[in-house]
Amino acid sequence: MSFLEILDVHKTFVNDEGRVQALAGVSLSVEKGELVVIIGPSGCGKTTLLQIVAGLEEPSKGEVRIAGQRVNKWGRDRTMIFQDYSLFPWLTVRGNVEFGLKMAGVRPEERLKIVDELIRKVGLEGFENLYPHELSGGMQQRVALARALAIDPAVLLMDEPFASVDALTRRELQAELVRLWSESRKTILFVTHSLREALILADRIVVMTPRPGRIKAIFTVDLPRPREKYLNELASWEAKLMAELL
């Protein structure tokens, strides 16, 4: 039995115009500490799948299990990171990072220790007392990452988290995520549009079909990390994935 199990998940949205089937039977098993990247055309239900794992949407059919337990509500064991960072604009960097700990009632001294360490890890020392809008996009996403890691979730759900930063920052953030992930060995489900990003990050890449979303293929990427230097291998992998997507 795998740590995270997505079992025959269907999702149909009903709105005024009728019914839209977003997911048509997705099954996926993810091991503890695995970094799985989901790619697929726009509207293939990648985001919906993440929301279902997060417990923010209910599947029309099927279920999600974490360590054998059925998921039926959101919880701090599955934290979500969005493309637009979704930082709380009224809280400083420190306030954002410690949000989850504060909600959980962690004592201030302990909070301070965890938060300081994370802020250092993501390279935000000296910016603790700034508000999100005073930071660049890349820095804001670091805050979001630190905020999610602060509560030590079992699963990190990342919905195109690096899609709105510039190319250089994006590469930095990818490297940083790989580094943080190798230290913490969190289970990560990561959605992206970028094949290169998927290849830099993933243990396994899940390719989805256009709507209604199904899993079309799963690839295990066995290149050692950091992978940026394996230009030829990355290029041939990219061609392979592209062929699968088209």
Binding site: G75, R76, P89
Partner: protein, 262 residues
């Protein structure tokens, strides 16, 4: 600095000079328009014997009670109904039927129900402010960013914590805007209600002065009402400024210079 101040004050100075000079010169009947020097003298006299302070205190106390009560209902109700659209549908028609009633329209009922005194005045203030503030908070609550709420939930916050620590702070600019509208309305309501429903307060003082043909007391009342209204708004603005410090650097008006600065 002084020059700028003079520039801003110039229209007021000219107005005061004309107001002083025209009745003194006999060009306007000083019984109908007593000059500001006489209004000022009257103000000093009434302050000295404590009458003016008693009226001011009576009005302010009513505003405080009515406004606090109305905010305590309007803000939570606006948030809850804004977040639970199902509930709003039930309430919608009733609220929109009561809302357009102008505050003075509540006066006859207030007197019938509560007689003369603080109670009818507070009731009128409550009715005159609660709907405006409620509707404002409601529409703001409907616009709370879904992703912020989702983020809060997946960070382990309980629904209650999400309301307190995510929804409330994200609504705080809108809530302050509504409170400032509310305090302005409350101040208008208290004066109107005091003209009929009570035997103390600035509104009462002005109505009594009319009966006694003391025009300077009417004008004095108007000036005090204006100053206190401004004072109430300034207090809220000061609190707002402190609470919403995080918004510095987010506001559009900073982009366009000082035009329309609140």
């Amino acid at each position: 600095m002084l020059k700028r101040w003079l520039k801003r004050a110039s229209s007021l100075i000219v107005f005061l000079l004309l107001w002083e000079f025209l009745p003194q010169a006999g060009l306007i009947d000083p019984i109908l328009v007593p000059p500001p020097s006489r209004v000022l003298a009257r103000g000093v006299a009434l302050l000295a014997d404590g009458v003016l302070l008693a009226h001011m205190w009576a009005s302010l106390w009513r505003v405080f009670l009515g406004f606090t009560l109305a905010s305590a209902v309007a803000v939570p109700a606006g948030i809850v109904l804004g977040l639970l659209p199902g509930l709003e549908e039930y309430m919608d028609l009733l609220i929109h039927a009561l809302r357009p009633l102008a505050p003075p329209a509540w006066i006859p009922l207030a007197i019938l129900w509560f007689g003369i005194g603080n109670k009818p005045a507070i009731f009128i203030i409550f009715m005159g402010t609660v709907f405006a503030m409620f509707t404002g908070v409601l529409s703001a609550a409907k616009g709370v960013d879904k992703r912020l709420v989702k983020t809060g939930l997946t960070l382990g916050a309980t629904p209650r914590q999400v309301i307190l620590h995510v929804v409330l702070p994200s609504l705080s600019p809108a809530i302050f805007a509504q409170l400032r509208i509310g305090i302005g309305l409350a101040w208008m309501c208290v004066i109107a209600s005091e003209m009929v429903a009570v035997r103390r307060g600035l509104g009462f003082m002005m109505m009594e002065a009319r009966n006694l043909f003391r025009t300077e007391d009417i004008l004095l009342g108007m000036i005090v009402v204006g100053i206190l209204g401004l004072g109430l708004d300034s207090i809220l603005r000061l609190i707002e400024h402190r609470v919403l410090r995080w918004q510095k650097g987010l506001r559009a008006y900073e982009l366009f210079g000082n035009i329309g600065r609140p």
